[in-house]
Amino acid sequence: MTKREGKNDQGLVDVALRDQELLHLEQDVGSLLDEYDVEYPSEAEIMMTIDRLRPFVPVKVNKRELMFRNMAVLLKRALHEIFYISPLFWVANSLFFLVALAAVFLGEQNPYGMIMILAPIPTLTGLMEALKSRNTGMAELEMSFKYSLQEMILSKMVIIGGFNLLINLVISVSLTVFYHHIWLWKLLLFWITPFTVMTAIAFIIVNRLRHFYAITASLMIWISFGGLISQSHFIGKLESLSPVVYILITISAGLVIIGRITHMYKRGMTYELNP
């Protein structure tokens, strides 16, 4: 017998012994487990365990309910913010409103052109209010509060949008009451298109740039555009455009606004202070 054959035989014996040991151990553990009895808990104990675990069970969220709840909270906050918006914002926009009315009633300007010029101005001036935290050095502090900075900005944007809606509705209704040849739906279209487009741009500015110069630039661009609109041949061209064009532009801008609001609400602004 060679040395290698001897080692192999010894190995086989070791394996057989180990198997036998395992078999014994399995039998011992088996008999121990057979004797072991798990006591069934009482009804009271079961209920107590369920009650203790209940706080840790994730609550099933009803998405629609959550959306309505979030909207209600947002509106509540927006209403509260009204009292903290600078009086300058209300005064300046009331003046714009009066100037627009005077231009139509006294200056005999084209009412469609006038409402188009006025439409986005409250939103653009309102951006200054929305970005006030950053400009006044309050942003860092406000980021540490229960209501996040983006929630506050969103609340302010809701007020600004609501105010814009109100101011333009008042003008549109006043014009149609006094000038019977003016079509209300056309006025609304001439208001809602620049309003949604500029609001969409405003949300992008708020979300990304957050600088006052961007607002000033937007206002300047719009006022220059207003100068163009006030020329009768240009407003004539705008009036000749199909309403479908306006509706498509409005829908596109509306989608951008919804997208921006959802983004701000869900993820917040990617805002981080630098050292």
Binding site: T136, L141, S144, K146
Partner: protein
């Protein structure tokens, strides 16, 4: 109640601003000492949730603050180093607005505003616009807003910067008074701000926490290393070149030098009781000898 920081790091690009900070905080005043750029403000911003750490976790009473979200923010009061305030608001209106942003109810707000204005000694100026306040009053209104929600964790970054000595002492005493049931984290590079009120001092250097201990134990470390000696003007330069001279004062036509040294720096040198300022300069000594001011 405890706040645990577990391996907190923060990087801006390649620059490491905070490096692997781990510590536990319990109620009391903690003073964070560090030179400019040592990472104090970054650490405070991370704790105030206005900045995210690059890595690591923070837990409050065992719960991760990211999971707690606004429940954590409800528990904190924060005063950043630079805070602008809404200048056109009166103190009362400003605090009411902040109370609303902190989620206080209308019923709670009025009482709480009155309480914090009393606490910071601004009750008589409650109808004045905060834009007209002095620097000290602005810092006090800053503290007041931080206290509105009765925070469990108060984070104040350089609260005494730019204040005159009287205002600094007043603010220091105020922080000490309100620290009994909360964790107060106070960052400063003015050592005397924390010398008498801090339960523990955290020393940050180049983004690393190099020491965390009671002021007394930290001072024991430099016991026997602080000396004073009166010398003539001609000897000053020589001593400055050999030792860390932390102060030079003119006393009866002689110059009294305060020196940090392991050995007696001069035959007439007397061993002194160390102060936290000595400890600070022991760690942040760059240029101290050259910058030591002459006090007359």
């Amino acid at each position: 109640m405890n706040l645990i920081l577990d391996k907190i790091s923060k990087c801006f690009g390649d620059k490491i601003v905070l490096d692997d900070i781990s510590l536990e905080l319990t109620p009391g005043v903690y003073g964070i000492l560090g030179a400019n750029g040592s990472g104090k403000t970054t650490l405070m911003r991370i704790l105030a949730t206005v900045m995210n750490p690059s890595s690591g976790h923070i837990s409050f009473n065992g719960q991760d603050i990211n999971d707690m979200e606004h429940r954590y923010r409800e528990l904190i009061g924060y005063l950043p180093q630079q805070v602008g305030l809404y200048k056109s608001f009166t103190a009362e209106k400003f605090l009411s607005y902040i109370a609303y942003l902190k989620g206080l109810t209308k019923a709670e707000t009025q009482d709480k505003v009155t309480e914090v204005l009393d606490l910071v000694g601004l009750s008589e100026q409650r109808k004045e616009k905060v834009g007209k306040y002095s620097g000290g009053m602005k810092r006090r209104i800053g503290i007041a807003q931080a206290l509105l929600n009765d925070p469990k964790l108060l984070i104040v970054d350089e609260p005494t910067a730019g204040l005159d000595p009287k205002e600094r002492i007043r603010l220091r005493n105020l922080l000490s008074r309100i620290s009994s049931h909360r964790i107060v984290l106070l960052s400063t590079h003015i050592v005397s701000d924390i010398e008498y009120i801090a339960k523990e001092v955290l020393i940050l250097k180049e983004g690393q926490l190099i020491q965390k201990d009671t002021p007394q134990r930290l001072l024991n470390e430099i016991e026997g290393k602080v000396w004073t000696v009166q010398v003539s003007e001609g000897e000053i330069l020589e001593l400055q070149s050999k030792y860390k001279v932390v102060n030079i004062a003119l006393v009866r036509e002689k110059y009294e030098l305060r020196i940090l040294s392991d050995t007696r720096p001069h035959i007439h040198a007397i061993s002194e009781v160390p102060h936290l300022e000595d400890l600070y300069l022991y760690h942040f000594d760059e240029g101290a000898s050259q910058d030591a001011a002459v006090k007359v």
